[in-house]
């Protein structure tokens, strides 16, 4: 669906880019103003034909390679970023990027999954699949944030924790478990944003937050739809079917009471205009952070505990 529509748009996008020239110089823009306007209208019409997005469409968009990545988010929304590396035990894991930065002047700790934009970067970051060292680094930074009283912002975008041999040898399960446990007790505000695909414990290990936000086309699930289909039906090709059944879209999670806010994306997906998305994301982060910063240390830990405590709370039958 959305895939075909984006394919139709591709040549128009190319034309627009050609008309605009390399820089955003005003001469080119004014000279081709009418052509550009026509192309924009044409694109709008195509986009309008796509109608409401299905869960499968959203999974496709959530994984789109041109979706804003953690590096761009940090340079767009934060200033003064200082990267911190290593878990202080054995290794640096590039699949998680973290450090201290300023958000509208306030020092915060920023942590997020890093997928990389080019193939080389993808390989270096292991496609955003962290090992135990990555989670231990994240925990180290969070504990430090707590020590210095800084709010923590996490950005989730991962296909899951890396299912590799060395990851198992070094305690993938223990590392994730430790993060869940320690994050639940943090006395500083924790705000998580699911920006792309959030899959399994690998996503949750950065996600035990006071508030969770999701971009409109982000997905968050217990497992990737492919993994889900292969476990339930021993057939990974039925992932499309799985997408609908899993209730993994931002809208589903908002309805389920897990997510506090869904941040609208530009029509056709966040990859079509990063600037427009960042503006909305910035506003949402400010609002939620302002609310959380008013709470005391104990209130923050209690609110976070209650948030997770009530998920799936059952009454006696």
């Amino acid at each position: 669906m959305i895939k075909e529509i984006l394919e139709q748009l591709a040549p128009l996008d190319a034309q627009i880019a050609a008309l605009k020239g390399n820089g955003n110089d005003m001469d080119a823009l004014t000279a081709h103003a009418s052509e550009l306007a026509e192309l924009a209208v044409e694109e709008d019409e195509i986009l309008r034909t796509c109608g409401p997005l299905t869960a499968e469409d959203r999974v496709f968009l959530a994984r789109h390679p041109e979706r804003p990545h953690i590096d761009e988010i940090i340079s767009a929304l934060f200033t003064d970023f200082f990267e911190q590396r290593g878990d202080r035990q054995c290794k640096e894991d590039p699949a998680i990027l973290g450090g201290v930065a300023r958000f509208h002047g306030m020092p915060v700790t920023v942590i997020g999954h890093r997928k990389g934009s080019t193939l080389d970067e993808n390989l270096a970051c292991n496609f955003g699949m962290p090992g135990p060292e990555g989670y231990r680094k994240a925990l180290r930074l969070m504990k430090q944030a707590e020590k210095f009283g800084r709010p923590i912002l996490t950005f989730i975008d991962t296909p899951g924790a890396y299912p590799g041999k060395d990851a198992e040898e070094r305690g993938q399960g223990e590392a994730i478990a430790r993060n869940l446990m320690e994050m639940s007790g943090l006395t500083v505000p924790v705000l998580a944003v699911v920006t792309g695909e959030g899959s399994s414990g690998g996503a949750l290990a950065l996600g035990v937050a006071n508030h969770i936000l999701m971009l409109e086309n982000a997905v968050y699930s217990v497992l990737s739809p492919e993994g889900f289909a292969s476990i339930l039906w021993k057939d990974a090709s039925r992932s499309g079917e799985a997408c609908e059944m899993m209730k993994l879209t931002a809208q589903d999670l908002y309805r389920g009471g897990i997510v506090e806010e869904v941040i609208p994306e530009p029509v056709g997906g966040a990859q079509r205009s990063h600037a427009a998305l960042f503006e909305r994301l910035d506003a949402a982060l400010r609002m939620h952070l302002k609310e959380l910063c008013r709470m005391s240390e104990k209130q923050l830990a209690d609110q976070r505990y209650k948030k997770y405590r009530q998920i799936g709370e059952t009454r006696n039958a």
Partner: protein, 290 residues
């Protein structure tokens, strides 16, 4: 908790418990009388298996055992009191076919859910014990399992009791999607609060403990024990082999491997488990559990 069975004297409760344990151990007339070992393939009479606590008399394979039977092996006679026995699973996603599968599993195992939680005594030390039963949806973590474990942890924290959890799980309950995933955070958060109050948590890993259970409460024990030869890990061996494109060495992710890599304190055979638990609990008696 306002159950009519609570009005019965303790002896009645114990008798019901023992009957359930017997049923879990397969000691009823309609079960086959010969049992084949999944590891070495040798067949032995069920009575022989029962005598060795369902450890293969030939090769020492620790067969997975049912929840009530597991508890009957470690709790003091007459001390068992089940917690939240009526807590039932819920179909949170309206997942097609899940309701029927649940009733089938309930009929087959006689369990309500994959977790059994209880208050009891081990070697005279009052404690809270929880078991995951791998016969019920592979011991996977549903919202009801997460809720039961969390309630047990909270109960132990409120009563200042030590906590023993026997894990056996395939991970998250797929049919409950994201709600299942969130139980990892919920149970871990409960352990955090329990631990901050000075509570002792003994985690016993049994075959198999994988996925979301490994990546939450099962890995967070103050004391980590494992039964011999149990598969313990986050990703399953098949997934790892597919990812790295090679065969895994024998013994990979087994209890002994986990001990060697620093994630388990001791590997304890089933026959010694009760004695080991008594030792650990008594060593921690009179701690600073506020």
């Amino acid at each position: 908790m306002n159950d009519i069975r609570d009005l019965f004297p303790g002896r009645m409760r114990e008798r019901t418990f023992q009957l359930k344990a017997k049923r879990d151990a397969g000691a009823v007339w309609h079960e086959p009388q010969f049992v084949e070992c999944k590891q070495c393939g040798r067949r032995a009479a069920r009575t022989l298996w029962a005598k060795s606590l369902y450890v293969c008399p030939n090769c020492g394979y620790h067969m997975p055992i049912g929840g009530y039977y597991r508890l009957s092996l470690v709790l003091d006679h007459g001390s068992f009191r089940e917690l939240d026995a009526d807590l039932a699973p819920q179909d949170v996603l309206d997942f097609p076919g899940y309701g029927e599968k649940l009733s089938a599993a309930q009929n087959k195992t006689g369990l309500r859910e994959a977790a059994v939680t209880a208050a009891g005594r081990i070697g005279g030390v009052a404690c809270v014990a929880a078991v995951l039963d791998s016969r019920f949806f592979m011991g996977s973590m549903s919202t009801a399992v997460g809720e039961k474990i969390t309630r047990a942890v909270e109960y132990a924290a409120a009563k200042r009791l030590p906590l023993v959890i026997f894990s056996a799980s395939g991970g998250a309950r797929m049919q409950e999607g994201i709600f299942s995933l969130m139980q990892m955070a919920k149970t871990s958060a409960a352990i955090q609060r329990f631990s901050a109050k000075g509570g002792l948590y003994v985690s016993v890993l049994t075959h198999p403990t994988t996925g979301g259970v490994t990546a939450s409460f099962a890995s967070l024990g103050d004391i980590m024990l494992a039964e011999p030869g149990a598969l313990i890990g986050f990703a399953g061996p098949r997934v790892i082999e597919q990812t790295i494109g090679e065969k895994l060495p024998a013994g990979f992710q087994r209890s002994e491997f986990q001990m060697e890599h620093g994630f388990v304190d001791q590997v304890v055979p089933r026959s010694q488990l009760r004695d080991t638990l008594i030792q650990v609990l008594q060593l921690h008696a009179g701690g600073k559990h506020e």
